[in-house]
Symmetry: C2
Subunit: 376 residues, 2 copies
Amino acid sequence: MGKLTITDIARLAGVSKATVSRVLNNRAEGVGAQKRAQILKLVEETGFQPCSTARCLATGESRSIGLVIPDITNPFYPLLVRGAERRLNECGYSLFLCNTDRSLETEEAYVRVLIEKRVDGVILDSAGSMHDAHVRLLEDNGIPIVLLDRAIGHRTSRYGVFVDNQRGAFEAAAHLLRRDDCRLLFLNGPAGLSQSIERRAGVEEAARLAGATDRLRVLEGDFSVDSGFRLVAGALAETQTAAKSTPAAFNAVFAANDVMAIGALRALKQCGIPVPQEVEVMGFDDIELAGMVDPPLSTVSQPTLEMGTASADLLLRLIGGEKPRRKAVIMVPQLVLRGTTRSVAVGGAGDLGSKRSAGQVAEPVTQRQSAVGTIR
Amino acid sequence: MGKLTITDIARLAGVSKATVSRVLNNRAEGVGAQKRAQILKLVEETGFQPCSTARCLATGESRSIGLVIPDITNPFYPLLVRGAERRLNECGYSLFLCNTDRSLETEEAYVRVLIEKRVDGVILDSAGSMHDAHVRLLEDNGIPIVLLDRAIGHRTSRYGVFVDNQRGAFEAAAHLLRRDDCRLLFLNGPAGLSQSIERRAGVEEAARLAGATDRLRVLEGDFSVDSGFRLVAGALAETQTAAKSTPAAFNAVFAANDVMAIGALRALKQCGIPVPQEVEVMGFDDIELAGMVDPPLSTVSQPTLEMGTASADLLLRLIGGEKPRRKAVIMVPQLVLRGTTRSVAVGGAGDLGSKRSAGQVAEPVTQRQSAVGTIR
DNA sequence: TTGAAAGCGCTAACAC
DNA sequence: GTGTTAGCGCTTTCAA
């Protein structure tokens, strides 16, 4: 069963390669119905599969794209991947998975590989927001690229799909700060990420509005369970050792992702601190597990799957040669209140969703439409 | 910046394409040190990147491989993917991600694409264990393949990396059945999967040994949180309606994966049934979340990351032309007892690991060595 | 409607 | 050591 080539099929059918090629790419004209049927039959019988590698060489299109993400192991990303993969696959594109382990070096190495592989486009959820040499490389090679989840440089300078981080963080912080005595501990992501900057801005804005800037403390985590745990355990330890009225004390934690929030929850539980009675906790992302921990985690929900899909859609358009005027697709996050925040007495920001069936992720149907709509 | 080719470099360096090619593939001999340095410098300066597509056409090697998995969204798989990806990447291979959504049709379609892409090999965590037409297709095209996590056909007929499902299930069931009054509800995976068959065998064996075959009930789930929830909620409802002494009642649940176990936990909690006091619960996989739910989930731990790595290793050997005698690499699962099972009074199977720091996955160091060792 | 022929960018004999 | 020459399997003008 030596690999069949288009030449074999041509020979078997007694026609030229060109004719077979026309049939394979079903060019409407250029082939008689008779020959066409015969060739199709032959292809079917022999199980011939054209070599996409050779095709790529001839046409310049590889029909594969690169998807770069920081950490497939973090439950947020699989959904993003799945969204993109599904759409891309529907449209006949295959996907090179590039897991960077949050390392910029790995990311750059991957980008190089993707260029060599002659991908038709790249979706990039970058490990950093500052460095763009590799993005330039892609651009110089004429490879369309859409940023996902994290911006690099200014948001409007390149195509991308993001959630409104500032708004999400603002709403979360504002909710926690609704209580006059709230002392807020914000576990931000790594400095330098666009998300961290935006979310911090949101939190600070909320603090300012609440006149609580002196009751806000910001710590830097790395998005892992462990860092959420350690940061909170550390803050707790300070409180213990210092006088009871130390300014380090906090009674609310807002983590930049659910995974860190879960780590925070564990630290609190380990110290026997009741959540949400003594400390309220809020996450970001709304991963599936968020509703499964105890108590179920209040969080800022992102339309993750839709973001993946949207990035694929956008990339497909770029590959198709379109030049959408709006560069950034901004999705709207939604506050989901579950068990780690106390039910609201006063009307604060966000809806009173604590009785939402916890397994249900809030479906951001409306904003999805509006958000995706902005691109036109 | 029209794409540079090897011809350009050759022209610029005043040498032939062959020489450049030799340098690019750093063939030890065949190029003078002088020219070599010059060419290298030129490549560096121009940022030339050889087209792997053309190379593939010329050599027959694509340096990319296909990774087929059922559901990237289930927290078990990302680890598998990561293990495989890391090793493969180290060795210069890129990875096409094929998420089948547990659909055999999608899987077959993907396999076809992979063949067209001329992948050098495939790692296949199949959606089903019965159908092997697509595997045959791969084999007919001379593409090395290693099965991962799930067998297709008999375990020894093809190369693969698996966990000892029967043993894991046996130990879990035996542990639950250590109590004389245990009535065990086993939430198996979809019928037809090799895993389901093996795990069922393990459970039944344990029941037989405990003389408890009449106290075992087997239900079929689909690995989702929802199915775990519904199955248990349903069984619970039966119990309510029937007489209190109905045979449908159970006081232990063993789920074929952690995700279903978490669903079960939720159903139990919703009915106000204390775990583990009234009902013990055990999962399978030991995903990161397992330790994060409340109570932390007792489970059968798989060395997931290592399985991914091992599958990559095995595939690389096959690609390298080796024909290992042992076809199957069988990893050893490990019982991890946490909060959803009662601490053992009598010495039963497994260790008394309930005080294991819950965030820590038991490190299966020893069996990893022995298991991987079996292949030689 | 069909075929012949020239490439796509690279590698690998085989000469020199 | 270095260059020449065929291809790898496909698409795509351009003629017929």
